[in-house]
Amino acid sequence: MIDRRRKSSLKRTQQRMAVLFILPALAVYALFVLYPLAMSLWGSFFIWKGLRITEFAGLSNFSRLFVFPSSARLYGALWHNTAWFFGIMVFQNGIGLLFAWLLFLRDRGAAFFQSVFFFPAVLSPVIVGALWRLLLAPGGVVEWALNGLGLHQGSLTVLGNSHTALAMLVAVDAWNWMGLPVLIYTAGLRQISGQIFEAAKLDGAGNARMLFSVALPLLMPALGTLTTLSFINTFNQFDIVYVMQGVQGNPSYSTDTLVTYFYRLAFGAEGAVGITDIGLALALGTMLFLILSVGTLLMLRFFDRRTVQL
């Protein structure tokens, strides 16, 4: 009896304390994340004058996105983000898997290589972008090295060339984050029981066979994490473009991404006079939000189904 009364009074105290404990975090999070995000989605259905809503516009902001001249920027940015994503999947997560496999095959030195490979990931993309802009500039050290090795002649203009600029940014981004797949894949490989590899070896599987037929199916959770993270990061790409190619995604919008386009619409650097179009920006934001959330959910489900249970 006494015990039960004490328990129910403890429960009441806990309910009250819980509210007090959760309130500060919830208030900050709700005010600066949930509320602005909800208002942005809501606001994309209205006509804007400057920073003020005037009247309900239905889907007209969205349809304007797909009409010239906005459509050119939208399709361009969508394509650049998509190409960026596949580039990262091949050159960062693919090569990262190779590195992780090599580190797994020899047990010595793994911590050293992991630390070195991960180091650029703790640097700001702004610093990484600025550093590579200097290295890749005409007269920079990369030009000097390529000319010296006889692989290239004259001035290196890869960042000023609309055919090569995007690939260069993807390469810099891959350099920046290469340590992440290496860490996640090696962690995944270590969770696989050594007996499985031993059995495969007895069956005569070589190293390559073992990587692709034995390890890779068991690495689906790691691959899923990396694919999802790469997808989210790619479709939020802004800093490297801004620092290396400016907010217009130079040259001639060839490195423009959805977020640089969004930034120009929202904060005014789009078009010759640099006006803002908040309605269009919010519609683009809502679209990007849908792409990100639907894409992420589909990926999580896809990889969940392909996870092999042992």
Partner: protein
């Protein structure tokens, strides 16, 4: 792992078969370290020497570039702003997230799962897309052009990850801990800060490290919210520098080196925790 290496090959052929692998790893190590080496030695060179002497050590180790970056370009100022914002956001995030995670992971409330879900959904939310409304909100609250505003926004963004980490670590602590303290008459605030929090030190350091990296490196929110030079943070100042001093390469290299120094030092000291933290939470960017 050792099962693989003990497959019975003669030692020498095993070493030879490993050579291509080592070469690949060494090549990427060079690809990471060489740009950083060039960055560091270029800081001590004049622009002319950067062109003449690409890879060599500087003829004389002059600190002019650092002095100029610190004084003429006033990077010292930005550095202090970044320190204030980073420290503020780390402390605020840890305190409020630990407070929220404690009841959510250790009380039976009936609504913990829903509330935890609400917090965790924030790990995925693309907050940059809300930056117009966030801008309006900050303006109405008088938080534009202020370090306090940045601290609040960064904390709000990092709270979901921090609550996730704290809740995971607190959930597995034995329930006798707080029950015994309660018997002794300790209040809930004391239980959290004097018993639970010291028990989850690894969680505190994971949250501190990853919040510090994310906040120190961020560029997007200062770009939107800060106009006055007095309140600019390091990444924002760097982005201006790169355009402004584009011909003075030594100065730009020096400013890059200064701005990455705190993270470099932290990384050298905490590389292991960071590697393990990526495994524990994964919430880096």
């Amino acid at each position: 792992m050792s099962a693989l290496t003990m497959a019975g090959n003669p030692v020498i052929s095993r070493r030879l078969s490993r050579l291509p692998g080592w070469t690949v790893l060494a090549l990427w190590t060079a690809a990471v370290l060489l740009p950083l080496y060039i960055l560091v030695v270029s800081c001590f060179k004049s622009t002319a020497e950067i062109y003449d002497n690409r890879l060599g050590l500087p003829a004389s180790w002059a600190f002019d570039n650092f002095v100029n970056a610190w004084t003429r370009a006033d990077l010292g100022h930005n550095f202090i702003n970044s320190l204030i914002v980073t420290a503020g956001a780390v402390i605020l995030t840890i305190v409020v997230s630990a407070m929220a995670a404690y009841p959510l992971s250790r009380y039976r409330l009936g609504w913990n799962a829903i509330m935890l879900g609400l917090f965790l959904s924030g790990i995925m939310l693309p907050i940059r897309l809300a930056s117009v409304e966030l801008f309006t909100l900050m303006r109405n609250l008088g938080l534009l052009d202020s370090l306090t505003g940045l601290i609040l926004v960064y904390s709000a963004i990092r709270i979901p990850f921090a609550v996730f980490i704290f809740a995971n670590f607190m959930r597995v602590l034995p329930s006798e801990l707080d029950e015994a303290a309660r018997m002794d008459g300790a209040g809930e605030v004391r239980i959290l800060f004097q018993i639970i929090l010291p028990m989850v030190k690894p969680a505190v350091s994971i949250v501190a490290i990853f919040t510090a990296i994310a906040v120190w490196n961020d560029f997007f929110f200062p770009l939107i919210f800060i106009f006055d030079d007095r309140y600019k943070t390091v990444p924002l100042a760097i982005s201006v520098f790169v355009g402004q001093y584009r011909t003075d390469w030594g100065l730009v290299f020096a400013s890059l080196a200064i701005s990455m120094a705190p993270i470099l030092i932290m990384y050298c000291l905490l590389a292991r925790q960071i590697r393990e933290g990526v495994g524990a939470g994964g919430g880096m960017k």
